[in-house]
Structure formats: C-alpha cells, structure tokens
Assembly symmetry: C2
Homo-oligomer: 333 residues x 2
C-alpha cells in the first residue's frame, strides 16, 4: 500500500529524478500521471518506466487533485452521540468503504445555520458529496455538491432515504389494539416525522372506533416524564414518538404506580439500543438505522457517479417486547 | 467562503488567465500561491494583483498538496454505534474544528487487523494524524503518521489520554461501603481497563476488611444478565465494569426478586446515556467521554504541530443515583 512520506521532500526528489532520467520536464511527468492525452505515447512509456525504476508514484493529494475527486463523503449528523445516528453512520461506512471512499464527519446540532456552516466546512475538503441526516436547511444548502438526505424535514428534498412513518404509526395502533387498548394516547414531538406517525396511528385507531389523546413532547426523556405525568387516568395504551421519550413515560407510569403492561401498554419508536434495556423491555417500531445508512451510502455513490436511482422508502416493523403484551391483572379475590 | 467549483475546468482556465495577464508561466503562478521564495517580489505582486482581478484562488486540494497537510484528522473508534464513543467523537470534533480541521472516521471493530486496515485507509487520504480509541494494534500501526491514543490496551503507547481506572474502582468501593456493603462482588471484563478498575475496588474493600467475589463478563448486557444470575446469595453490593453490563445485572436481580437498592446496591462504570434510563437509575463512575475527546483533540493538534504536551490522565467522579442509595427495607411488624 502506498502511503505518503512524512514530508514532501522525498516525493519532490522523486519526480525530479524521473524527469531527469526520462529526459523530459517535471510538467511532462506530472501530465503522464494525470492521464492527460497531451503526452506522446513513446514519452509516456519512457516516463512510466523510469518512474517504476526509481519507485515513484504521485501523492494521494496530487492524485485526487488531478482526478477532481477526493473520495471523501461528507456526513452531517444532528448529534454524533445519539445511538440511532451511530448506527446510521456505521451503515454508511460499511457501504462506501468498499468503493475506497471515507467518511468526513460534521454535526448540525439540529440547527439550520450550524448545518450550513458544517457543509461549507466539508466543502473546503472538496468532498464528492454529502449525506445529511434530518436536514433542517433543505434547499438552503450550498449547491456546489450533491446531497443525499436521510429523513429531511423538507418533503421536497431530492435523493432521499426514509422510513414509512405513517405505516409505523399504523403498526403501533394495531399492536396496542391487539393488547386491548380502549383509550389510547399519542406522545408526539415537533416536525414532519412525528406528524406522519400520528396520522397513521390516529387513522388506524379511528377505524377501530377509538379516539386518541394527543400529549406533546420533544423527543427528550424529560418531556416523556412530563407527558407521562399528564396522561389522563383513563388512558390504557400509549404510543410514544421516540424511545428516549418513552423511557420518560415509563418512569412516570412507575412513579404513579400504574403497572406496565398490566394497567397501561406502551409502544415506542426507533427500537434504538435503549429499548431492550428499559424496564419493562420496550416494544418499539423499528427504524432500521443501519439499513437506512446502507441505502443512503448506495444512493450517494450512484448520485456521485451520475446514475442516481430512485428515492428509497423503507417499511418499518414492530418489535414486540414486554411493554405491549398485556398480562391479566392478578386481583385479590 | 471559498468553495470548490463543480469540476476542474473553471479552475484551470483561472490559473492560465492569471499567468497570461501577468506575463509569467503557469508554474510561476503556482509558486506564488505555494508561498515559495523563488519568485521575485515584483513578479509576485503582479501575479497576486491579476489573480484578484480575475477572482482566482487555488483549489483546496491543490493548496493542501502544497502545504503537505490535509487538515484531516483520522479518528478510529471500535464501534460508531456505542453511545460513549459518540460523545468522545463530539469532544474531538468540537476541539479540532476551531483549527479548521475535520474528522475522517473509521471503525476498528475491536480487532487489531481491522484497526490496521482502517488506519491504512485513512493514510490514503493523507490524514495529518490519527486519534485511536481503545487501540488493539498498538505498535503494529503504520509508522508514517502520528497517533494519539485514548485508553489503548498497550500500556506503553505514547501520546495517551485516559481515565484513572484504579481511582474509579476506589470510588465505587467507597460508595458501596457508605451504603453498608458487607459482601461485595465485582463483575469484570477482559482487558487492562477492567483489571485496573478491579484493583482499585479490591484494594479499597480490603482496607475495610471486605473480601470481593469476582464474576466474569464481557461488557455486554447478556454477560451482565448471566453474571447477575450467578451472584452468590450473600452478595449485597455489586460493582460492574460497564453500564451496559450493569443493565443485565439489574435485570437478573429483578428476575430473582432481589430489590435494588434495598437488598443489593449496584454501581456501574461509564455513566453513559443509558445509566439514568435504567430502573432504578444507575449510580455510575463517570467516564467524561466528551472531556476525553477534547483532551485527545488538543493533544493531537500539538503532536501534529510538533509541540506535544504530556500525556493526560483524567480523574473520574462518581455519579450517585438510586441504585446505590440503600433504603431501609420496610419489614412487616
């Protein structure tokens, strides 16, 4: 494997030596390695022969400069510390590495302006394209490079990979209905994705003759705790727009002495690594984060190659655990 | 902000145009922008003037080629999906961005060979240096670039940032002793870090006249569940080498009807985002993952600049939550 020397001096001597031995200018040697057609075939062969003789090969940065490609793919995540995004990142990495590309990372902190600055920063490294997760900036992104979006807020953003959130809401409703839900609630959050999950949930519940309480949250555990405390006493089934927020709902139910799943069944969303760690283990609509990353990586490779395929919509599945399987309550006789 | 054009053609015309207008060769224009001293001051001023006139500036890749720097910092994580590593990554990012550098990411999958391949891959992009988290390869890494290590397995690796694990074990022992521990156990894992945590724990417990049961695990939740099931009945306090494994220990205790913290107190290690989500909330020795990332980012910048400071050892703190605060058991009269 060719690796760069610690500094440029060895490399510089190499190209001079090749030029001297081949009896051509340094510029001609450079043109040969740049695969330009302005070098005579005879000259080209002589240069390559001498380059082999002295073990010369152009530096990675020089090669990239000539190709007009950096083999870098920018990835912008709202927050590198959130487990779901880590799995997306791993899916992207697994996919693009086989094409010799690497991930250049930046964070948007869920803020459109920070996102735009992050993209500008990545563009200084001449990334070949960017994958943006949960973009807030949408069409405000610099137009010099191509973008693939995972679940962007803007419903019109091109080159997108996302989950069928409406279907996810329907699955949650079906699960809670199977557990005997009579009085369901939805704990939501701002943004397009939560609105779509709620639409699927409410539609399916309405078809079964059930009205849905709406309790607002913001995906944080704290907001889930507050939402859980605010649930009307008659609620016997809760669908929560994210697992972290569901952790808060579960804690609020424990604190009120309402047993899960005996008194209240709960379904979360994401199936992130925390879902099976909660008590009781949380049933959740699965976002296949690794699959989303793989699909985005593939789409990015094809967009960069100029052969973009269609957008990708992934169908979610429900992962059933203890929190949604209602156990008949042992009552004193 | 200067951003690269969609392809190289505009750029190429730019440098030709500058050369023509200034009456010099393209190589001379290149030398001016490379800040080499072989250009006469008068010529240099004329080139810069014409470059301003036509709006020419060299491409990022070309500028980097000349500087012999890519402004890329390689970061190798065992697993991008693990929350603690995400926080380390964010700390690194926060620190190096202010120096105009970006993070180029790769995964080692906790395997020395994969780690070496990952580094070789990053070297192809001419990274200026690498931060390796929990290195397994140690001195087997390619020697072309500088490395900063966060908690490497090899105790002799240079340029290191790590936690005082022995002190962490002492803190856990002090907390469990304060909660009345008479018969403590340690649930450990392979490797240097767990051995150091155990050493601090056992030493402090021995000073208080307590013998420690050792139960093996591997940091996974499953291994914690098995370890929790294997705990001797007389154990009344458990220190677990990682929070994820502690989640398994807590579940095993719940399943056996042993109340936490009434019957058994538990302290984990990491204080990752799952610790406050567990039931009961887990007391844990905090690995300040963001701080570790910040310290590694700073050390990397100084090593790359040739002014490496000393290694960094961070002192841990114990975060007290419900699992270690023993509540007197309500007994029937």
């Amino acid at each position: 494997m060719a690796t760069p020397p610690p500094d440029g001096s060895v490399r510089a001597a190499g190209i001079r030596e090749v030029a001297r031995r081949a009896g051509v200018s340094i510029a001609t040697v450079s043109r040969v390695f740049n695969a330009r057609s302005t070098v005579q075939p005879g000259t080209r062969d002589r240069v390559l022969e001498e380059a082999r003789a002295v073990g010369y090969s152009p530096s990675p940065l020089g090669r990239n400069l000539v190709r007009g490609r950096s083999d870098l793919l920018g990835v912008i995540l709202p927050n590198t510390g959130f487990p779901l995004y880590g799995a997306v990142l791993r899916g992207i990495e697994d996919t693009i590495q086989t094409s010799g590309m690497s991930v250049l990372l930046a964070s948007s902190r869920d803020d459109a302006e920070v996102e735009i600055r992050a993209v500008q920063h990545l563009l200084r490294h001449a990334v070949d394209g960017c994958i943006v997760v949960n973009s807030r900036a949408g069409s405000g992104l610099p137009s010099e490079r191509v973008y693939v979006h995972i679940a962007p807020e803007d419903p019109a953003a091109p080159h997108r990979v996302e989950l069928d959130n409406v279907r996810g809401g329907e699955l949650a409703a079906a699960e809670l209905l199977a557990g005997g839900a009579r009085c369901p609630a939805y704990v939501g959050a701002p943004g397009r994705e939560s609105a779509e999950r709620e639409r699927g949930f409410v539609t399916r519940m309405a078809a079964a003759g059930r009205q849905v309480y709406h309790v607002p949250g913001d995906y944080s555990e704290d907001s889930g705790l507050r939402a859980g405390m605010a649930l009307p006493a008659e609620v016997d089934a809760v669908f929560v727009a994210g697992d972290l927020m569901a952790a808060g709902v579960l804690r609020a139910l424990h604190q009120q002495g309402r047993r899960v799943p005996t008194d209240v069944t709960v379904v979360g969303f994401d199936d992130s690594l925390i879902a099976p760690l909660l008590y009781p283990r949380l049933s959740s609509v699965r976002q296949p984060a690794h699959d989303l990353g793989v699909a985005a990586g593939r789409l990015a490779l094809s967009v960069i190659a100029g052969t973009a395929g269609p957008d990708v919509v992934i169908t979610p599945e429900l992962v059933r655990r203890e929190s949604s399987i209602r156990v008949p309550s042992p009552r004193p006789p």
